[in-house]
């Protein structure tokens, strides 16, 4: 992967650096490692190249060729992300390590891929790799029984949460910032992959005995089905589901597509750097209002309330972030 990326990056950097790298073609910046690293960093910071911004989130999402886009070409929509090609020092170093010769130390012991099973193969990837075979599962009604037995104490009888243990399902549909408390994030309104509900429940729950043998793969799938059903996913692939529905990996993969279409589409790969400052205000210079105080040049600020009795700051400590 590094060779093809490298060619692309070299092109991008040469393109981006333009005037400053006069005479460089796409095989160009190949001096010493240190120099190569400097070249990339100059490209990064040079306002002549990127102006006062490193590109907006939308520009980067729609154009994986942007040097500071983390999106992967052909994958826009954030299923795969990467380090932006503009961070050439990362790519250069990785490529160097990948391509340098390696002769076996021989300190490890070979192990068969087939010996890596059970608790050593918990990872159910976003594309369905490592899910239990079709036909392993149980009814959603059984999932509810297991949930009440193993999960409800913390998560609530209806997955509505319990005190500090936040709701698993439901929550607001409007996730925009209205200035109030952060919208609670649930499988209904936020989690982008249904497969990860199963993956996480099996690997880490119940909290005090994860990957519980009495639940097993079939039980974890049934619980996943019930939580989905409770969380409003009552139709999967055009078929209504109910308590008698047998929930297995085949249904989970279909549910995964429903959830991706609903929530995963709201995800971006990392757009940073997209907010940055300028080194103003030095040696008699004065910073512009936009980066002074409240962003309008005024020293207006929020502070913690002062307790009228003690005269000490009364910090808002009962609100979870």
């Amino acid at each position: 992967m590094f060779n093809s990326k490298k060619t692309m990056i070299a092109g991008l950097v040469a393109l981006a650096a333009g005037a400053t790298l006069t005479g460089c073609n796409e095989t160009a910046p190949k001096a010493s490692a240190a120099e190569a690293s400097d070249v990339s960093r100059i490209a990064y910071l040079d306002p002549a190249i990127h102006g006062d911004k490193f590109g907006t989130r939308e520009e980067k999402r729609n154009n994986p060729d942007h040097p500071y886009s983390s999106e992967v070409a052909g994958e826009t929509g954030s299923d795969q992300c990467r380090t932006p090609s503009g961070f050439t020092e990362v790519w250069d170093s990785a490529e160097k390590h990948m391509n340098s010769a390696h002769s076996t130390y021989g300190y490890g012991q070979p192990i068969s891929e087939s010996a890596i099973t059970g608790d050593w193969r918990l990872s159910a990837l976003g594309d369905g790799t490592n899910l239990p075979p079709e036909g392993v599962g149980d009814t959603i009604a059984r999932g509810e029984e297991l949930f009440q037995m193993y999960c409800a104490a913390c998560h609530g009888e209806f997955a509505e949460g319990n005190g500090h243990y936040l709701p698993l399902a439901g929550g607001p549909t409007d996730m925009t910032d209205n200035g109030g408390p952060m919208p609670v994030k649930t499988i209904s309104n936020y989690w982008p992959y249904a497969i990860s509900w199963f993956d996480y429940a099996r690997r880490a729950m119940p909290f005090f005995q994860p990957n519980h043998p009495d639940i097993g793969d079939a039980g974890y799938l049934a619980i996943t089905g019930w939580v989905a059903y409770t969380g409003g996913y009552t139709t999967i692939d055009g078929q209504e589901i109910d308590e008698d529905t047998f929930f297995d990996s085949k249904l989970l993969v279909k549910l995964n597509e429903e959830v991706k279409a609903k929530n995963n589409v709201n995800y971006f790969c990392d757009p940073r750097p997209e907010v940055h400052n300028v080194r103003c205000g030095l040696n008699g210079d004065k910073c512009p209002d936009a980066v002074v105080g409240n962003g309008k040049g005024e020293i207006k600020f929020k502070e913690a309330l002062i307790n009228p009795v003690t005269g000490l700051p009364q910090y808002n400590t009962n609100q979870r972030p």
């Binding site: 910071l45 990785a94 709201n266 907010v275 105080g293 502070e303 972030p321």
Partner: protein, 449 residues
């Protein structure tokens, strides 16, 4: 610089100021200097008399010093403590937690006491903690690390095997991306331990991940490495191959000794510059794939909900950041006079280039001095000396890293991201120093623009 500044003030001394107390004297001197508060003195030679002029008029101790009590008896012998501990007088220096932040102690966090730390290395016992399923105590003789997936030859290593490999030792900070999370909606906490203590900096020793991956014959076309821990949460993340093959380490030691339990004994992943959640502890498995896990810890958690309702994930790097640890809300100013601002700057993208200090909320800045080693993706210490005239201050530090990226003001971050991202808040913090002539004279508050 200290001596020069004092000389400068002596040169401006007036008959009235000579009779004032030291601090008031310094203030008077500055005032006479034409209201220039943060004057940098012109270079002049060293004059011992001028150097001590600031003490003029202060009460002198004339009673003979008493014999210190510890001189009256023999101290304790060697190996009284086979594993040494800090002085008993340092027992107030502790990692602490906010009880309201998490529902239990098993999936919780503690913060390092940044206002009580020195230099760029965090002592192992004060390193912040973040657990997702309690802290296991693993027998290293039983521990295994498996590499499999898109490799020629799946391998399993014991701890003994791993330590035979070539090792590197690197100083890097680790920061939980939720550092500062409580502050998105406004001011909530009144100590730098709470605002920035979810981070520490250590020397990590281990084998480069690239060496291990190649030992197993990693497929050059593979794009992800999925590390997994042996704790109750089986913590896992997806690491892109370019970061895995760059400078990532599989570490067994921190600051010269085995990793502490809290830091992932017997081995953890160290992907420098990346968010702490990716530094998987108690590492037991490295799964090489062409597909990310899309794990709960990189989708529903450790993703940023932006103001428009969209979300950002795979935000691996901790961007350039800094904080003033002194003066900060744990301290109180003790009158006008000389102060040395001290703090920590760091960037997940490389070395710190500059740190600038503002006292007026961002209109004008003064470049600070970098006072420690300046290392890649490591804490860097900075200091700036100034003479406080007793007026109200809005103290902030602004770091720039070698990529040219400069740390933003809070309103800049809010404008683009809203107040719900939780993670990756690297805005400049503001310490409000109350004026010496106000009813909260010298108190330092956390405020937010």
């Amino acid at each position: 610089m200290t001596d020069q500044n004092i000389e400068h003030k002596v040169a401006q001394q007036t008959p009235e100021s000579a009779t004032q107390t030291r601090r008031a004297f310094l203030k008077g001197g500055v005032a006479v200097a034409g209201g220039v508060m943060f004057s940098q003195a012109a270079s002049a030679g060293y004059d011992p008399k001028a150097a001590v002029a600031g003490y003029e008029g202060q009460k002198e101790i004339t009673d003979p010093l008493a014999r210190p009590v510890e001189r009256n008896k023999l101290g304790y012998g060697v190996r009284t403590y086979p594993y040494g501990m800090p002085s008993k007088y340092e027992d107030h220096v502790q990692r602490r937690t906010l009880d309201w932040l998490t529902p239990d102690t098993y999936a919780s966090i503690t913060m390092s006491p940044l206002h009580q730390l020195h230099g760029i290395i965090t002592p192992n016992g004060l390193h912040f903690e973040r657990y997702h399923g309690g802290m296991p105590e693993i027998d290293p003789k039983e521990h295994k690390l498996v590499i499999h997936g898109l490799v020629e030859r799946p391998l399993v290593f014991t701890m003994e095997d791993l330590k035979k490999f070539p090792a590197v030792s690197r100083i890097h900070f680790i920061e939980c991306p939720a550092n500062g999370a409580m502050e998105w909606k406004g001011v909530q906490v009144d100590s730098v331990q709470w605002t920035h203590g979810m981070m520490s900096c250590s020397e990590w020793t281990g084998v480069k991940l690239s060496t291990l991956l190649k030992e197993a014959g990693v497929d050059p076309k593979a794009s992800w490495v999925i590390p997994e821990g042996s704790d109750a949460s089986a913590m896992s993340r997806s690491i892109p191959m370019e970061i895995a093959m760059d400078d990532t380490i599989v570490a067994w030691a921190q600051n010269g000794e085995a990793l502490r339990n809290e830091q992932g004994y017997p081995i953890r992943l160290v992907p420098p510059g990346c968010e702490g959640n990716m530094w998987v502890k108690h590492l037991r498995r490295l799964y090489v794939t062409n597909e990310p896990l899309q794990h709960r810890e990189e989708t529903s958690k450790y993703s940023e909900l932006y103001g428009d309702g969209s979300a950002v994930r795979f935000s691996w790097v901790n961007e350039c950041n800094s904080v003033i640890t002194y003066p900060s809300p744990d301290f109180k100013m003790d009158g006008p006079g000389r102060y040395v601002v001290k703090g920590i700057a760091y960037s997940g993208r490389g070395k710190i280039k500059n740190v600038d200090i503002t006292m007026d909320g961002g209109r004008t800045y003064h470049e600070a001095t970098l006072t420690s080693h300046v290392l890649d993706k490591a804490w860097t210490r900075f200091e700036y000396e100034f003479d406080w005239d007793g007026s109200e201050l809005f103290l902030q530090s602004r770091a720039t890293d070698e990529t040219g990226y400069t740390q933003p003001q809070a309103p800049q971050l809010r404008e683009k991201r809203g107040t719900n991202p939780v993670y990756h808040r690297n805005a400049m913090v503001t310490w409000r120093v109350h004026a010496w002539n106000s009813d909260r004279a010298g108190v330092i508050d956390n405020v937010q623009f």
